[in-house]
Amino acid sequence: MSMFFETIRMSLASLLHNKMRTFLTVLGVIIGIMSIISLMTLVQGATDMVGEQLASAGGNKLTISTFGDQSKAGLTEKDLEQFEVLHNVDYVSANVTGKLTVSGGGESTNGVMVKGIDGNYYRGSTDVLLAGRLLYPTDLESQTTVAMITSGLSEKLFGEMSPIGHTVQTNGISFTIVGVLDSMSPSVGFGDMLFVPRTTASNALNFGLIKAMDVYLLDTEISSETQGLVEDTLFTIFNENENAYSVFDMQIFMDMMGEIMGTMNQLLVGIAAISLLVGGIGIMNMMLVSVSERTNEIGLRKALGAKPQSILMQFVLESVFISMLGGIVGTILGIAGSFAVGAILQVTPTVTFGVIALAFGFSAIVGLVFGIVPARRASMLNPIDALRSN
């Protein structure tokens, strides 16, 4: 054991003696580890962020689009009830849409997305209500002519004035505005929108049958089973024409996204690993120079009783020290760098213990792998020849 500590002491002493050379060699490893760490934490951070965004956009729902056919153009209010009772279904939210010209406050805007929604629409949404109220189930039942308006559209029609209580006209129908939604809300995105009760839209505005529906799940783990039930129901509703509808599972999309990000992560880390490889070659180069410079010392040590493995150990430890030092500094700089870059890209890097452990493991392995060849060369030197090289 004392021999081991002695070897560590010798290795460190020799590294400290050649400070500049050691620093430059360490730099190679630092750059390699730094790029691996920063890429891994950034990509992981981005993956987590995209995942969160997707989940908030509805990781817990099946999205159904109906195209219909000659016999049946879409879903009726009655059809919806069949989905609500399926196993693992929390609730459904269906809507009808159309693009219309909307006028009010003496102004008029065309191409407004008018969306007929139900009371469940806002249960799975993060849209922001700026003023007034949402649409109630009672609005659907009695097919009232009330509407929610997006803040952008409100400004175009009513200027700075609050639109609550005022009316807008579209398709010859007058709607009383009861709520204002922030135009920056996630589901708005399309620009100017007017939200009205679905039943009113279907009938009074002539939007017809339901073309889009979200089925919200209680448990996303069994989403594919529920998807099966939903598809069976649609199959029956559309008279066994399976081209009349499609079911999209957000969870599958999220899994796919995760896989893509994972592959990208591997690719980037693979590229970064090349720089670590270059760092390793730097170590090997330095160690080979060091061995040939110290041939005489190695010969002397062997003459005085050093066994090949103690020489081997001395040089391997030197190279592992360099590499580990690079690993430590590279990890610190890599994390710092990823937070700096993350601040610019607005991505919060995800630093896990695993990433740090991986970087350390990598750097130790690099030191070992690239140190072993020079160290073996040193340990196999013939002491007679080595002593003569002066």
Binding site: E6, R301, I384
Partner: protein, 230 residues
């Protein structure tokens, strides 16, 4: 002769260089007893360095037997040879072979690292040895702060520190001026008087004659030294 420290019986050494076989040593037969001071005298190219390497267990004879304190050197692994060099042999080299970046104390401690002696004991024994060779005020000096004679004393202290069976000195005065060389020879004689077995290899007859027995090596063959020539 039964108390022999080392015995060489019909030792031969050949080097093969391509298809040329070079006979470096031929039928070397000799023994050294405990407490002797033997010098091996020979001109360059006589095979004395080869003999020194075999004596020092740095090399192995091509044929014949070399017994060192009961061990047959032929049948040994590299690790066993390293152990023998560490424990039984103290080397003194012509060009001192000191580690330039380390102090006299560190240099003397070096062989003890490979004996597995603890740091405290290594320090103590190395210090004692340096005092014994007259360098008590140079213990923390580095080789470049020491004269040639002082450096050779450090190297002798290093050879003594493991308390080996033999001190093996290869041209120990070769890099020194005459006066300093004579002082180093005095030190060897003194060590021999204290009971150390010393084998010295040299091309210098005057130096060789300081030993109690002189062997002459010419063209790889060992001969009794004959008084009178040169």
């Amino acid at each position: 002769m039964s108390e022999s420290l080392l015995t060489m019986t019909n030792v031969n050494k050949q080097y093969i260089m391509g298809d040329v076989v070079f006979q470096a040593l031929t039928d070397i037969n000799f023994s050294v007893e405990k407490g002797e001071f033997v010098s091996i005298l020979g001109p360059s190219g006589s095979g004395k360095s080869t003999l020194m390497n075999i004596l020092g267990c740095l090399d192995i004879a091509s044929s014949g037997d070399y017994e060192l304190t009961g061990s047959n050197i032929k049948a040994m692994t590299e690790n066993q040879l390293a152990d023998i060099r560490n424990k039984k042999i103290g080397f003194v080299f012509q060009n001192f072979q000191l580690l330039k970046k380390q102090t006299a104390l560190d240099n003397v401690m070096l062989p003890l690292i490979y004996s597995g002696v603890s740091l405290a004991k290594r320090r103590e024994r190395a210090r004692t040895m340096l005092i014994e060779v007259g360098l008590e005020d140079k213990i923390m000096s580095r080789p470049n702060q020491l004269s040639g004679g002082q450096q050779q004393r450090v190297s002798i202290a290093r050879a003594l520190v493991t308390n080996p069976d033999i001190i093996l000195a290869d041209e120990p005065t070769g890099a020194l001026d005459q006066k300093t060389g004579a002082q180093i020879m005095d030190l060897f004689q003194q060590l021999n008087k204290e009971g150390k077995t010393v084998i010295m290899i040299t091309h210098d007859k005057k130096i060789a004659l300081k030993a109690s027995r002189v062997m002459h090596i010419v063209d790889g063959r060992m001969q009794k030294y004959v008084e009178g020539v040169e």
